[in-house]
Structure formats: structure tokens, C-alpha cells
């Protein structure tokens, strides 16, 4: 198995951040209706 690079971690951070924001958008939609 290849080693996890900084690029992988950066990508994962970006992905989690984006999913976090998407979840927050949905939650905001729900409470602002």
C-alpha cells in the first residue's frame, strides 16, 4: 500500500470542508423555511 501524501490529506480536508458547508446549507434551508 502506498504512503499517504500531503496531497491526499489536503484533498481530504477540502472534501470534508465542502461536505461540511453543504450540510450547513441544508440545515440552514431547513431552519429558515
Amino acid at each position: 500500500m502506498r504512503r499517504i501524501t500531503k496531497g491526499d490529506l489536503g484533498g481530504l480536508f477540502l472534501a470534508l470542508l465542502t461536505f461540511g458547508v453543504i450540510t450547513a446549507v441544508l440545515v440552514q434551508n431547513f431552519f429558515e423555511r
Binding site: 472534501a15 458547508v21 434551508n29 423555511r33
Partner: protein
């Protein structure tokens, strides 16, 4: 497939839950419009509002029209002189961003006091909020229907309702052309295909993006799935987009909407071309993101169905880019995605876009209904 079926069952349950127990309260809005009301009585299809000493104060009528995320229901009050007193929204399924604008601009203030014959589509005080024409038109149509209802019962006046138009304009024509380009591009190879794709995407970016802001969104999908079908006369574009998406997915195994028409895909490609290089995303991240995206789509649909508000499902930052309307979070999302586009090829399309999940569902269903013999183990 099993997971898809389980998800469908849960979503159908949510929709059923959302659709039951929903008798709108029409008395409270009548009392709000006429604060001095003592008694509200429903007769001949309109609510009669009585005040102190049982004097008639006026009437309230209900009107409904198709908005962006489904039908909206408005109550409009008319006094005994035939003037509009006020408007209350009983049910609406528009996006929270649109509704925030309606509140901020005191949308209904201008209509109060106007004579019921003068409430028209081009009524000057009802200013359409940019980028939300469907929602704005639906508000005006709901008010007009309610006013016509009261006028007929209380004043014996037949107010003509506007004819339901059939709109086939530049937007609809452009959608047909974009799919035609896509089919052409799908049939050729090499640089011609590249050129056709850029041509399609630029067209999509200009027409479906900046000009009309009408890409396929999660809200529109959720509205269809919830059983809200907008009037094809005024919302033909979305039917064309859906038809093109589904037909090309089934016949070509890849939907040509995403490749040739989607304005947000085009925006990311343009940014990517400026960035000039693309990082490769490791396969395990790709797999993780696919699961996460499908889960997000599921949660979004679940929320939309259980509240019966399809517009809540929209998490895309499209309106922020194309209509310059958005919440802080949507702007932030747009910023992340466009920044990521500099490094990763079309990150929204690859990892976050709900249309990819829809496409996979269509393709899986097709495979399930008609298994490809070549794929079966010999």
C-alpha cells in the same frame, strides 16, 4: 441496488408523511389581514369577514399557482369598496433565499390599497425579484386568482384571468440546440469533439447560467419526485432539460446535459483552464466522496419530502454565481469549489453534484431492467 431500494422506501415514507395531515389554516390569515375581525365565515367559496356588531368588513379569497418548488397558496383580502387590503402567504415552497428577498423588499406593501381591477401581471408595485421570475409570477397569479374569486362572489364581477401562455423562446430553443450539439459531439472524435464541447459549454454558461439562471437543480428534481409538475406552458425549459438528460443517459450511457449544457460545469472548466494543471485524486478518496455525495442527496430529498418543500433540497451554489444571490454559506461554497477547480478537474461535477447521483440511478436502473450480456461472466 438493495441500498437504492431501501433509500427509495424511506423517501417514499417521508413523502407520505409530508403529504398527510395538511389542511391549510385559512382563518388566521383572514384575521391578520382584517385585525378588527370578530367572525370569519366560509360561504360560496370565499371567507366573509365580519367585525364589531356583525358589520361586513370584507372578504378573503385563496389563490394558488406553481412556484419554483411547487404550488404556493396565498390569501388575499378585499374590503367592501373593492380594494385589496392585504396578502398573506399560507403555503410556499420557494427557496429560503427568495423568501428572504420578498421579506426584505416588503413585497406585498405595494399591492395594498390597489383596486381589484388593477391587480395585473405588470402591476408596477409588484416588482419581480431578479432571477426568480417563476416565484414572482406565481405570487402575482395567486393574488389575481384570489381577487377574481372574491370579485365574482361579492361584486358579481367577472375579472378575466390571464390566459395561460405557452412560452417557447430563446431559452427553449437554446436547450434543444445544446443537446443537438451534444449528440453531434458524441458522434465525432478528436479535436472536433473538443471544439463542440467548448461551444456547448459556452452556450450553456451564457444562456442557462448568466442570462436565465436555469440549470437543473436539486429543487426541481425534488419537486418532480414529490409530484409537483409545473405548467409545461410556462416551464417548458425544465421539461426539455429533464428529457434531454434522461434520454441521453439511457441511449448514450452518459448524460449529455452535464457534458454540453450545464453552466456550472462550464464555469469550472473555464477556471480549470486558467489554473492550467490538474491534481489526480486517489481512488479511495473518489470512493469515499461518492458515498458521501449519495448520502447528502438522500438527506436533501428526505428533508424536502418530509416538509413537502422541494426547494429545501437545493444545496448548489448556482444562484450565487449566476444571479448573485446567496447566503453567506452558499458564497463560501462557491468560493471553495471555484478555488478547487484551479487544482482539480471540475470538482463539483466529480464529487458533489447531485446530478451525478441521479445519472447513476438511471444507469443502474437501465442495467437492472436490461442487463448487458457482454458484462455477464461467461
Amino acid at each position: 441496488m438493495l441500498r437504492f431500494l431501501a433509500a427509495s422506501v424511506v423517501l417514499a415514507g417521508a413523502l407520505f408523511w409530508g403529504r398527510t395531515n395538511r389542511a391549510p389554516d385559512l382563518i388566521t390569515p383572514a384575521r391578520e389581514i382584517f385585525p378588527e375581525a370578530r367572525r370569519v365565515e366560509f360561504q360560496q367559496g370565499v371567507h366573509h369577514v365580519y367585525g364589531e356588531g356583525d358589520t361586513l368588513l370584507g372578504w378573503t379569497g385563496t389563490g394558488t399557482a406553481d412556484g419554483y418548488g411547487g404550488p404556493m397558496l396565498l390569501v388575499t383580502g378585499i374590503d367592501t369598496l373593492g380594494a385589496v387590503v392585504g396578502v398573506r402567504v399560507v403555503e410556499q415552497r420557494e427557496t429560503p433565499v427568495f423568501w428572504r428577498m420578498v421579506r426584505a423588499r416588503d413585497y406585498f406593501a405595494g399591492i395594498s390599497g390597489s383596486s381589484m381591477e388593477k391587480v395585473d401581471y405588470d402591476y408596477p408595485n409588484v416588482v419581480a425579484v431578479t432571477g426568480a421570475t417563476i416565484s414572482s409570477d406565481a405570487i402575482v397569479e395567486s393574488i389575481r386568482t384570489a381577487v377574481a374569486e372574491v370579485a365574482g362572489v361579492a361584486f358579481d364581477l367577472r375579472l378575466p384571468l390571464p390566459p395561460r401562455p405557452f412560452e417557447f423562446g430563446l431559452l427553449e430553443l437554446s436547450i434543444l440546440l445544446l443537446f443537438a450539439l451534444g449528440v453531434l459531439g458524441h458522434r465525432v472524435r478528436g479535436p472536433s469533439r473538443r471544439r463542440l464541447r467548448w461551444a456547448g459549454q459556452f452556450g450553456g454558461l451564457l444562456v442557462l447560467g448568466f442570462w436565465k439562471n436555469s440549470p437543473i437543480t436539486m429543487a426541481k428534481i425534488a419537486a418532480f419526485l414529490a409530484g409537483y409538475f409545473p405548467d409545461p406552458g410556462t416551464a417548458l425549459a425544465i421539461y426539455l432539460l429533464f428529457a434531454g438528460f434522461l434520454l441521453t443517459s439511457v441511449f448514450y450511457g452518459r448524460n449529455l446535459y452535464c457534458l454540453y449544457a450545464c453552466p456550472f460545469g462550464a464555469a469550472q472548466r473555464v477556471v480549470g483552464a486558467i489554473g492550467g494543471f490538474s491534481l489526480k485524486v486517489p481512488p479511495w478518496v473518489v470512493r469515499f466522496m461518492e458515498t458521501a455525495r449519495n448520502l447528502v442527496v438522500f438527506v436533501a430529498l428526505f428533508l424536502a419530502f418530509i416538509t413537502l418543500r422541494p426547494a429545501l433540497a437545493s444545496y448548489e451554489p448556482f444562484a450565487a454565481l449566476f444571479a448573485l444571490h446567496g447566503t453567506t454559506l452558499q458564497w463560501f461554497l462557491l468560493f471553495i469549489v471555484l478555488t478547487a477547480s484551479l487544482l482539480i478537474r471540475t470538482p463539483w461535477c466529480s464529487f458533489f453534484c447531485p446530478m451525478r447521483t441521479v445519472e447513476l440511478v438511471v444507469l443502474d436502473t437501465k442495467r437492472w431492467l436490461k442487463p448487458d450480456r457482454r458484462e455477464e461472466p461467461s
